[in-house]
Symmetry: D2
Subunit: 385 residues, 4 copies
């Protein structure tokens, strides 16, 4: 019989942003209990953070290493089932490695690692261990994104010719952003964030969304990236041309200095039969357009397919948002673990969680887009690992 | 020190709709545990439903009477803190009475009772017991609804002259709706729903929203209501003129047969200085308009006031929806209970939950709108109880 | 062979608003020449206005009476073919009578007269004279309004159950509006405007739009109208319940004090198979909604019917607006005149101009809505003349 | 004293598209008479077309050469004042040259010529002759585009950092488009259209709009263009990175195969203080966004600046569209001619018409974007002629 799953968290202590979002996503469906955490590199902060979450002191750990070790030593019906990693980027890889070492499944925030080399190593570890790995490319969790993917798969758009995707924000437009804001500071610090700010933080979401919905594989890119705000050592803005295996072309825009934009993620796919568009600003709507027929407006909870419906909680017209999309990743990843525990085959829905392959694609994209942005050569191949 | 609160649920068993929504809302912030329930009048169903929610069998009760009695007998650090009522309408009142009898706070779905007489009795019981009572007029939970109220309170709109509010749905447009759908069946059955379908189910939300945002008190109404689909004994559509104490006039539309509408709730207030509009279809946006200046677009998470921000969980541009709004009612009601437990004064935010006064207003509205709809007289006074 | 038609104008001199709109509408298609006018009751102003429009002095008349008389005396291939009336309301009737007396077709701004008695007399004169009469209920000129009507006629919506229509403006929200603005002054002066401001100026457009699109006939109404701004003797705001012959019910909102609204005209029709919505703020879009299928978005110039296409000038995506809609009335009315001149039968398109019957309906609506608004009785029959 | 201006047209005969649009734009304000034309290379078609426009046979010319010669020989108060050129692209240059030779002002559709060499020669002829030249980069005619430019000029956005512009259409998505459609056929025929289809037809509008609104000058570009539909020898889709003199970067998208798109032109500018966005699908709205304040929504006819108002004909809320924008170019160009005739200085408004300098920029853009699209080199300088 199913039981509630037990989650441990690394990162997400006081003042963090994404950790709280992960917890709400994990809570929503009442299928997962947070049972322990190493919430901060500062042991006091970790303890305070855990107690504010009603955890007993003995399961508020002083380090992620301690957490893995001590949880592994607990009885099977007490210890955590999986680890969620919500630290700044540079710790995603070492924490995942440690979790795998102690036999815990991993759900990681993105990007998976700091570079391609690490992510390929991580993939080997995952494959060898047989453990489950998920990465929170959150936007794939939206029902209408899943509907878009299903419509492309069913051939409704015909052959995809062109893709236009964008993720723009304005929050780093001001020079003092990094001084004023803890979230900004680490994202603009190469030691914590890696080689890229804008493309690693949000460009990679746009890239993932394109490959997820279209089913295409990007084969080459050309990039124009820039440090718009003076004094930054990493990209805060950029644009990319994409060429796909199957002949389609695309453009990808990402910016952290697009003043007035909130989290403006949108995508359009143009096939030779129809096109579709989806926007994060109106996430429960999917529009399909034709040249010679009225456009169709599909709505979450309405006349849509089974994968969209399986990821919907409310009747049409009651808006579902970012936390619900995030919770879909949690619910589907939890479903994978439950199937393991019960010895069941994974359903298509359970499998519909970005995993290590998407993690690899993301890191390859980030490395190549930075390389291309700094190059006078036009096209750069995107390696298939 | 704060502890997690313990919730018991009456109703919400297998196949129910709103019970699951209440549980997600209660779960979201990790501040409330569901510890027991009487999920169905059918004891087997109640047990199955509770076990699917990971409750121990001994706290899956056979009736709400049993639940109150046995929970009251549990040690103080085990028994539930409050009861949430998510049954069909006709049970809201008796369950609340029973809960009060045993000293439990009550959070009830709307409408509070089947008629004004009952709700006035309920108010007496609440007042006499000193217990806390909340009613889930959900839409007041949206951050931009709270911002709208704050803007009106601050005088930004001047004197309100006109209000236009609407809640339209299409799901009962077909004659077979009640045969096909358990949710439809009880709402169209006077024994379970009371004297009204459309006005009691959704019209009352529109009415509550007007009084919540505007701060005005409706003094009289004129109504045209109808049973559009043949064979129904209750209203499935209607429109109302409203007169307010302070001279403003309003119109309220509600329909369950507006084919193609999902849960289309919208409100506009026109003052003598400015107007505002909010729509449930785009709930994170609030528009303020003037005659001689550009319109302002306010956004959840953006440049808004403290009450809106206190009811927001994400940065601007990450859409928050219905569950988050619902969870704001839970969070604020939980805050009331926590304050009681800790002997603290209630904050403005904690107090910002619809309570017994709103419950009374809702029942008065429902009774008067049905009376007026069946009358050839134009205006009907709305009594102030 | 077709020739350009010759138009004479009464009203529309310096400082007028609607006269210039009529001229642009008449100019657009190059089928009509303005050849003369009595542009003002002030002969100097009439002359100045005419000369600014490149008219010879001898055809800038000192009064409409003089214009009718002298034009009638000109050779057939010189004199005007029809008169357009763009004065304040109180002159619509006498000018039309004078035009008919001299054998000129009439295109009149609305409302046709000051009361029902006059409009019935006007109808007799028209019928007896055999002359053509059009009334500029402008909004019926939009291609997507015509498409809406065609969709209803084809049965696509099934039986209409409910209609929601609204025309709101904010320009008279301030007390000083009538002092500051010539357009406001005459609309709020009963001597020039008649018994109603808001309902006669814009409510009547909403009423006409409902009957035009739905094909229904309103049979009774209940009204709440008010003089919101102190000191006014006429309505500046109101709401109406409508009952239609065929059992449908409707609501109509109109306001001149809805601060921040521009010319917000919108209409929704709910049938038992589908619903449709159209808004003047996005006039080239028509949405059709279902309960169990995706919504359809129809667009001017796109996949729409023949009547919409015949009233469209541009490819889809090049916005057409108010002047084009207005020009459709002119083009179709001109088509009627051309058919007379050439002895041809009128096409369906030529006939698609609001005429004397719509003029009568409008006056009946205005009278009854004011009567009902001032009455304590709920329902008032709308007479069928 | 002002008189009506006299216009001659080259091109625009039966079956043409843009000629009719030009005539409506010229008609709208009643300031211009079409007096003659060489409407087709087929003399019979030219005659039939002219007579359908109510022109006398003697001014329906057999060729543009004949028209220039014979009109020049007419008395000064009869002959045309200016020529409008609405032929396929390859004739724009020779017709303009001929008009200049005979001393007529020229208003030309875009692109001005087939290549940069020709347009530089044209510029010399214009400068030497002292004649007036306008080019119908239509979208600069929209009031809210003018407002956008004014807001940038006033410094409201601060320094522009990034520009995103797009013009997408779907009408050439199908392979048979060129066979079925006269408009498609010439645009995809290099002999008539020049070296580019997509970029010369619509990309150039996007480019012009960027430089018009931003006041920036594009200095270099990188392009990915393609012939998406098999068998075409010219681009039907493309994307461009732009670098501007002042450090801003931009992206430009254009496509004729974006199925379902109508004439989707949109632009966003991001400065270091604010951003703005405008879309042709909602042309009467301009949005200004900030990071720390509510967004502003500006509307045609509302609280906007003098240049926008001078190009607006209606009160706010009465939609103005493409023909009105086009007519603004005509009105302002006519104003230039009137000023010449009256010996007056040109007003800022009269000067606000795209002219020979914009024509040169357009041709340089078209040539460079095709060069860059066919090159493996990333960046290509845009010469400043």
């Amino acid at each position: 019989m199913r039981r509630k799953l037990r989650m441990g968290m690394v990162g997400g202590g006081e003042g963090a942003f994404i950790g709280a979002v992960h917890r709400m996503a994990a809570n929503l469906d009442g299928q997962i209990d947070l049972v322990c955490g190493a919430f901060s590199h500062d042991p006091d902060c970790s303890l305070r953070s855990g107690q504010a979450l009603y955890l007993p002191a003995e399961r508020c750990y002083q380090s992620y290493q301690q957490m893995m070790q001590q949880e592994a030593a607990l009885p099977e019906d007490v210890r955590m089932d999986f680890v969620v990693i919500v630290t700044p980027n540079h710790l995603h890889f070492p924490v995942a490695v440690e979790a795998i070492k102690y036999g815990f499944h991993v759900l990681s925030d993105k990007p998976a690692t700091l570079n391609v080399e690490e992510v390929l190593e991580l993939r080997s570890l995952i494959v060898d261990s047989g453990l489950l790995y998920g990465i929170t490319q959150t936007y794939t969790g939206y029902p209408m994104v899943k509907e878009a993917r299903a419509r492309v798969q069913s051939g409704e758009l015909g052959n995809i010719r062109k893709v236009v995707v964008e993720y723009t924000q304005g929050w780093l437009a001001a020079q003092q952003a990094e001084a004023d804001n803890k979230q900004a500071a680490w994202r603009l610090d190469p030691k914590q964030a890696g080689i890229s700010s804008c493309m690693a933080d949000i460009g990679v979401h746009a890239f993932n969304l394109v490959e997820y919905i279209s089913g295409l594989t990007a084969a080459a890119l050309c990039a124009d990236i820039g440090n718009v705000v003076a004094g930054r050592s990493m990209d805060d803005d950029g644009a990319v041309f994409l060429k796909f295996d199957q002949g389609a072309r695309g453009t990808l825009l990402a910016s952290q200095v697009a003043i007035g934009e909130e989290n403006t993620l949108s995508i359009r796919l143009y096939g030779d039969k129809a096109s579709l568009s989806w926007s994060h600003q109106d996430p429960n709507t999917l529009v399909i357009k034709y040249n010679d027929k009225p456009s169709l407006v599909l709505r979450t909870g309405g006349a849509v397919g089974s994968m969209a419906n399986a990821n919907t909680r409310l009747p049409a017209g009651h808006p579902e948002g970012y936390i619900e999309a995030f919770a879909n990743l949690y619910r589907n990843f939890a479903s994978q673990i439950q199937s393991r525990l019960l010895g069941e085959t994974l359903s298509a829905q359970a499998l519909d969680v970005p995993g290590i392959d998407e993690a690899v694609r993301g890191m390859v994209f980030i490395e190549q887009v930075v390389t291309a942005g700094n190059s006078e050569t036009k096209w750069h191949v995107i390696p298939q690992h």
